[in-house]
């Protein structure tokens, strides 16, 4: 059987002689997408001078230790929240479970920097909560203990609260697809539910958990807004400071390269775990899960766990934003704000459509031309997702400006017609940065969708007399519709939330909601930032709900 399916893989659906134009196009596109990262990596070999020595002597160990601490904290946080919530909603039954199933995804709509603003407003020393404690107890500073929100731990908590859905999402899917028999076997062998969880379900779901974890950690490494706001020096803030503050591109690029090494390890980890995942699907057939009924105290405990997670990750910060928006904000819903919203939507929409088109192109190229070259190129194009926006922005500015100036010089010399800057400082540069950063999101979704169209489905259609266009129209489009919409929305929301690259690359007279929220918050006007922040969150909720629905659906389709 094995070699038969191998043959199937070697000779895929559309049997064509090698089409070199396609491979060429794919490789060229992927190289373009990898350009910013390559520019950064290229700087490794430029001597950084004494700045590097200064960094190594003083702040480098902070960058490393804070980044590691942050990752450790986020890892623990997302594992506890994500796996716990996934287990309870997929294997247990308790009041409110059906609502929690999708509501627990809501924190995904909350950008980390925005949750950081609201928590700072609430829990800072001078915030309402601590003030209340002081008023009630009469204690002053230092006479009572209260966790410091603006710290590495605080940042880890903030990031955990909004990143756990990655783990929740994948782990839940893994739990749901686990053969219930495997769990039953454990029960018959005399293991209680808890033992079964730790000895059977958890190890079986490990690939999914690791995949979710590595996604969350990549986001953690890429975070700029939160750590910058909390004054925690990590690689991202360090890169920013070294590049712009110390004005040393080489040292900053070397820091970026160190960061990329971290990212690379995570990517490998994720790849390996994903490979294992294929062997872990033990049962193909749909089987209704018999959930452990939790009643009484245990039901209350499960409900409380899920509620607290949802409350801290979404309800509380969203509520605070709403409160600010309604009471103290000086900002109003004027024309200016509407333009802001329109800019954001326009940009996010454009980026989403472009990303989708590229993802479709690459996805199909990969399907048609299953060689290592195309495969590697597509992977490389997806790497940008793990690279912080700051690094990408810098990697975009340098080659674009160089290109523009070269074209200008050449045109001036040859035709006496200077062209000025063609791409730098335009939306093109910004959109390109978004594509570099978020293409992977669309690509992954599109590839997952294409993966569901098995080669045999194409072949069945052909044997029933369909030509390629007809297969696309009658099989691919209807089957991909959901994935395409999901990809579109995921990129849309990611772009809407994106901060550092937007901040650096946007053209004249162009602001977005994220930039507005950040500017006001960094100017210490948290309340005024609430309108923009709230709009981002609201826009983010829609795809989250859609995502949770498509998961329930895909579970059915996978079992055919």
């Amino acid at each position: 059987m094995q070699s038969d399916s191998l043959e199937l893989k070697i000779k895929t659906a559309f049997q064509r002689p090698a089409f070199n134009f396609l491979s060429f196009g794919v490789v060229a596109l992927c190289l373009l997408m990898a350009l910013p990262v390559m520019v950064i990596v290229g700087y490794i070999f430029v001597p950084a001078g004494d700045v590097w020595q200064h960094l190594a002597d003083t702040v480098l160990k902070d960058y490393v230790s804070n980044s590691l601490l942050l990752m450790l904290g986020v890892a623990i946080g997302v594992l506890v929240l994500g796996v716990g919530a996934a287990w309870q909603t997929s294997m247990c039954d308790f009041p409110g479970r059906k609502i929690f199933e999708w509501a627990l995804l809501l924190p995904m709509a909350m950008p980390a920097y925005i949750i950081a603003y609201t928590y700072t407003g609430l829990f800072d020393f001078a915030g309402p909560l601590q003030t209340l404690i002081r008023e009630m107890t009469g204690l002053g500073y230092g006479e009572y203990w209260f966790p410091e929100i603006r710290s590495v731990e605080g940042a880890a908590i903030m990031l955990s609260l909004v990143l756990y859905p990655y783990v929740y999402l994948l782990t839940r899917a893994a739990f749901l697809s686990q053969s219930i028999c495997v769990l039953d076997v454990s029960r018959t062998l005399g293991n209680g539910p808890w033992r079964t969880f730790f000895t059977v379900a958890l190890p079986l779901a490990r690939p999914a958990i690791i995949a979710g974890l590595s996604l969350a950690l990549m986001e953690t490494l890429a975070d700029y807004g939160t750590v910058q706001y909390f004054g925690v020096s990590t690689f991202t803030t360090g890169i920013f400071r070294t590049w712009f503050g110390l004005d040393n591109s080489a040292a900053a690029a070397q820091l970026s390269a160190m960061l990329l090494l971290f990212v690379f390890i995570l990517v490998m980890l994720e790849r390996i775990s994903r490979r294992q995942a294929k062997y872990h699907h033990t049962s193909q057939r749909h089987q209704a899960i018999v959930r452990f009924k939790l009643s009484g105290l245990r039901g209350v405990a499960a409900f409380s766990f899920c509620f607290v997670v949802l409350f801290l990750g979404f309800l509380l910060p969203a509520g605070q934003l709403l409160y600010w928006a309604l009471t103290t904000a000086e900002e109003s819903l004027d024309l200016d704000f509407l333009i802001l919203v329109w800019n954001s939507l326009k940009l996010a929409g454009l980026a989403a459509i472009l990303a989708l088109c590229l993802a479709l192109f690459l996805g199909y190229a990969n399907r048609l031309q299953n060689g290592w070259l195309v495969k590697t190129a597509v992977r490389v194009a997806g790497m940008g997702y793990a690279v912080p926006g700051t690094v990408i922005a810098v990697g975009v500015i340098i080659p674009f400006a160089a290109f523009d100036n070269a074209v200008d010089a050449w045109m001036d010399e040859t035709f006496g017609l200077p062209t000025g800057l063609l791409l730098s400082g335009t939306l093109v540069a910004l959109l390109f940065a978004y594509l570099v950063r978020f293409l992977a999101v669309a690509l992954q979704t599109v590839e997952a969708g294409l993966g569901r169209i098995r080669p045999s489905m194409d072949e069945a259609a052909r044997s029933m007399g369909c030509k390629s266009q007809e297969i696309i129209r009658r099989v691919h489009i209807p089957m991909l519709k959901g994935s395409l919409l999901t990809a579109l929305l995921l990129v849309f929301v990611d772009v809407l939330k994106e901060l550092p690259a937007t901040l650096i690359l946007r053209p004249f007279n162009f602001n977005t909601l994220a930039v507005r929220a950040y500017e006001l918050a960094s100017d210490e006007r948290l309340a005024d930032a609430s309108y923009a922040a709230l709009t981002i969150v609201v826009a983010g909720i829609l795809p989250v709900i859609l995502l949770s629905r498509s998961i329930t659906r895909s579970r059915h389709e996978d079992t055919t």
């Binding site: 500073y141 004054g231 400006a401």
Partner: protein, 343 residues
């Protein structure tokens, strides 16, 4: 060959078309890179456009990023003007060779020499002082004297100040290096760090709030933050700000540390005349007054009425150090703060 030539022709025509379109638009406008947040510059620009008919294209961002962008874009940069919120960055822009000197008799007559570049590469627009703020009742102002004295062990655990990554702190330290030397300043910073009530975090308002809430007795912050809190819609912020008083340090010596927000003409400027018009507008009485009232900054132009809040804090002696020095000494300041452990 023919095909190739056609492609070149198409490329040329379209590029020319683009440039033509660009220059057509460029007729009556001026392009501004501003490190001032949109909220604190846009209203003035709108007024400028209203009065002069010159359209202002704005992009805001961190000063260092904008500076980097100017450098990358080189002679083709679309920006005509660069506005930053501190003199150090203006100096850095000049050093990086992205600015050019220009003469304006209005700017030269209205702006004191220490608040502008001697070669006219940049001009200060507003003054921002960074005095010592103390909690009324908990600190006797008679105990306060100079910045230097804050390193005294008697302030152990009583001082709130933000991170050393912040340019205002970098400039403050640079001004101290200018008045003494690196070694002495590093010792001072080490002493100051020992007196911190908490690891530096948050912005200037956070220091004020923390002091008002009792976490420390002294906060170092720019005055306009305090002014902003005093006029805030948020009752909590107002209450916190009202607990604080301003102490002007070093009045018997060089004076309190001040910095400027300022404007520079870029080397690549294509709308030079409009750019200078805008700079002159920003030094005009109306604009100066707007900054004083809207954002609690001190007008750089003499004789402009200050807001009542600023009046209330009284007149003070300013450090007369030429602000270019802040930029020159910035790398030294950053490194010594790193060494002395100011996070």
């Amino acid at each position: 060959m023919r095909v190739k030539f056609n492609w070149v022709a198409v490329a040329v025509v379209s590029l020319v078309g683009l440039t033509a379109a660009q220059s057509a638009v460029a007729a009556d406008e001026v392009n501004l890179y501003s490190a001032r947040k949109e909220k604190l510059i846009k209203p003035l620009l709108d007024r400028f456009t209203h009065t002069t008919g010159i359209k202002v294209n704005l992009v805001t961002g961190k000063a260092d990023v904008l500076l980097k962008r100017l450098q990358m874009e080189g002679k083709n940069s679309p920006a005509d003007l660069l506005i930053t919120t501190d003199a150090g960055r203006l100096h850095r822009a000049k050093a990086a060779g992205v600015t050019q000197g220009f003469k304006s008799s209005l700017l030269e007559s209205e702006i004191p020499a220490s608040f502008r570049d001697s070669e006219g590469h940049w001009y200060g627009l507003t003054l921002r002082s960074r005095p010592i703020l103390y909690v009324k009742g908990r600190v006797n102002p008679a105990e306060l004297s100079t910045y230097e004295a804050l390193a005294d062990p008697k302030w152990r655990g009583r001082i709130c100040i933000r991170s050393s990554s912040n340019i205002y702190n970098q400039s403050l330290v640079a001004s101290m290096v200018a008045s003494s030397d690196v070694a002495k300043t590093e010792m001072w910073v080490a002493g100051l760090v020992k007196n911190f009530a908490r690891p530096p975090k948050g912005g200037d308002r956070d220091q004020i709030k923390a002091a008002a809430a009792g976490q420390c007795d002294i906060a170092i912050a720019n005055t306009y933050y305090l002014a902003g809190m005093l006029t805030s819609k948020d009752a909590g912020q107002r209450a916190a700000a009202e607990k604080m008083a301003v102490f002007w340090p070093n009045q018997n010596g060089r004076g309190a540390h001040v910095n400027v927000s300022g404007i520079a003409l870029t080397k690549a400027a294509k709308n030079r005349a409009n750019a200078i018009k805008l700079a002159e507008y920003l030094i005009g009485e109306a604009a100066q007054k707007w900054y004083a009232e809207k954002n609690g900054e001190y007008p750089v132009r003499a004789g402009v009425a200050q807001s009542s809040v600023l009046e209330h804090w009284g007149k003070f002696k300013m450090d007369s150090l030429n602000l270019s020095r802040l930029g020159e000494l910035n790398p030294d300041a950053v490194k010594l703060m790193d060494r002395a452990g100011w996070k």
